[in-house]
């Protein structure tokens, strides 16, 4: 009984800390980064009025969204219209349940894991793949329930895009799994110790995964579900106030999740670039875990920067180009990558 209550308290504390951090870093700081980087690329300054360097701008935006009128269209399906943003944001955040952020550290004689669930989930990557495909329901429901043709088109495009790119995404991950011989994110990262990053073993897989991740998160150049010039606002045309804000936050949370998974799978995750003993940190200590966490967040933010950078550089794909790329380019590439990887691993064994 005592054991159980201790576990539950540990779980709650970790969930609270990690979700707050993610909300702050991913959503708030992500929005701020997006606005600043877009401004810099366009030779502007960007937000600089709210707080030092405008760093509090996202909070001002959220307060504004909360105070806005929440409109539900008369012809909308009220239930689905209400539940769609909840699905979007809820799924975006529930992915963090299984993502480890650092090596476990020892507290007394207990081993504390740096992820919400204890101990590490041994099929973490499968869980993430499953949840990211549930996320599209939020967008599709939103598009359908709004009873608006533009929203519906946005939702349809979103589901078509998701189906097309889910395949190549999954297949490109299989290459990594073959190299790592495990489904647990913790072990995948530990196998990439020092500079043993998977991107050097799986360059083609990385490119396929990167492009599919852009498509999965509905980010430019694959932001067809919310293509402003064609579809007004896409699936979120009929949303206002904090319901729109939830889609917005979910988009940034998804972007952060994708960056995080790319870093975990291909860029060595939280591994230090030098052996930790060199700077006097023994494995299993709290400070090592903390530094690993910071390194992971730093790498992820670099990846988020790349996402934003691409968005403000590359124009949107046409719908037929999107399908061509998904089915005729990325899927064969992912299959070739998978076959070559399997053969090489079979020979080396």
């Amino acid at each position: 009984m005592v054991e159980w209550s201790f576990l539950i308290i540990e779980f709650l504390i970790k969930a609270l800390i990690i979700l707050t951090l993610i909300l702050l870093i991913a959503a708030a700081f992500g929005v701020y980064l997006e606005r600043k980087i877009s401004a810099f690329i366009q030779n502007r300054i960007g937000p600089n009025r709210v707080g030092p360097f405008g760093i509090l701008q996202p909070f001002a935006d959220v307060i504004k969204l909360f105070l806005k009128e929440d409109i539900t269209p008369y012809a909308a399906d009220k239930f689905f219209h209400r539940i769609a943003p909840v699905i979007s944001l809820g799924v975006a955040f529930s992915v963090y349940a299984v993502i480890p952020f650092a090596d476990p550290f020892k507290y007394g004689d207990k081993l504390i894991y740096f992820s919400i669930t204890t101990p590490d989930v041994n099929i973490g990557i499968l869980f993430i793949l499953a949840l990211t495909s549930v996320g599209v329901y939020g967008i599709t429901f939103a598009g359908w329930s709004s009873n608006n043709k533009y929203s519906l088109l946005g939702g349809l495009r979103s589901s078509a895009q998701m189906i097309s790119y889910e395949l190549s995404m999954g297949l490109s991950i299989v290459g990594v799994l073959l190299v790592a011989q495990t489904l647990s994110l913790q072990e995948i990262v530990q196998k990439q110790a020092l500079w043993n990053w998977n991107i050097f073993y799986q360059p083609l897989g990385f490119i396929v995964f990167l492009v599919s991740a852009f498509a999965e998160t509905n980010r430019a150049p694959f932001d067809l579900p919310e293509a402003e010039p064609e579809l007004v606002g896409g699936y979120n045309t009929e949303y206002s106030g904090m319901k729109f804000g939830m889609f917005f936050l979910a988009e940034y949370a998804n972007m952060f999740t994708s960056s995080l998974i790319i870093v975990l799978l291909f860029f060595g995750g939280w591994n230090l670039p030098i052996p930790p003993e060199w700077i006097g940190l023994e494995p299993g200590s709290f400070w090592l875990s903390l530094i690993q966490f910071c390194i992971l967040i730093f790498k992820t933010l670099l990846m988020v920067f790349f996402f934003i950078w691409v968005r403000w550089s590359v124009p949107r794909f046409r719908y037929d180009q999107l399908m061509y790329l998904g089915w005729k380019v990325l899927l064969p590439l992912a299959l070739i990558n998978l076959i070559v990887t399997s053969i090489v691993i079979y020979i080396l064994k």
Binding site: I37, F40, I41, Q42, N43, R44, I45, W309, S313, V314
Partner: protein, 165 residues
């Protein structure tokens, strides 16, 4: 078969069809833009000073010996938006006439500058004033108290008019 085809597929070279090198080039361009100087002007702190050719709020010139306007009414007559209202009165001074009432309705003014062009006394000119906010419609009608501006503030415009008018 005298058909000329010029599809995207034919126009692009092999490297362009690969997309990725071209995308990398594009990313390079945007990265270079990030470090270039910014064009933004931080408005309330940093204000733009217009040149003499700028047509801002029309004002009446206040000379050393009083206002220049002789209330001839030409500006009111020429104004295409009917924004100016002048009522003349007489005095004992050298210039016998002066405007008893001179109102410019800023709700109507279109900043065309005809009033300034037609004025024989160079008494009404366009100033550099571009911050024209008012919070109710009554405040949009400017009387003489708000229109009269000392001549030294309007030197740029007067010089511009003498040169180009």
């Amino acid at each position: 078969m005298n058909r000329i085809e010029n599809t995207e597929h034919q126009r692009l070279t092999f490297w362009e069809k690969l997309y990725l090198p071209e995308i990398a080039k594009g990313l390079g361009i945007t990265l270079r833009q990030m470090f270039k100087p910014k064009f933004t002007r931080q408005y309330p702190e940093e204000r733009w000073e217009p040149t003499g050719s700028y047509r801002g709020r029309p004002v009446l010139v206040l000379d050393e010996d009083g206002e220049r306007c002789v209330a001839c009414g030409l500006c009111s007559r020429v104004c295409p938006a009917l924004a100016i209202e002048v009522q003349a009165a007489e005095t004992e001074r050298e210039k016998e006439r002066y405007p008893e009432k001179f109102e410019i309705n800023m709700l109507r003014c279109i900043f065309c500058g005809f009033c300034e062009e037609v004025c024989p006394e160079e008494a009404i000119v366009m100033s550099k004033d571009y911050e024209l906010v008012f919070t109710n419609r009554e405040d949009g009608i400017l009387g003489k108290d708000k229109l009269l501006v000392p001549i030294h503030k309007l030197q740029d415009r007067l010089e511009f008019l003498r040169e180009y008018k």
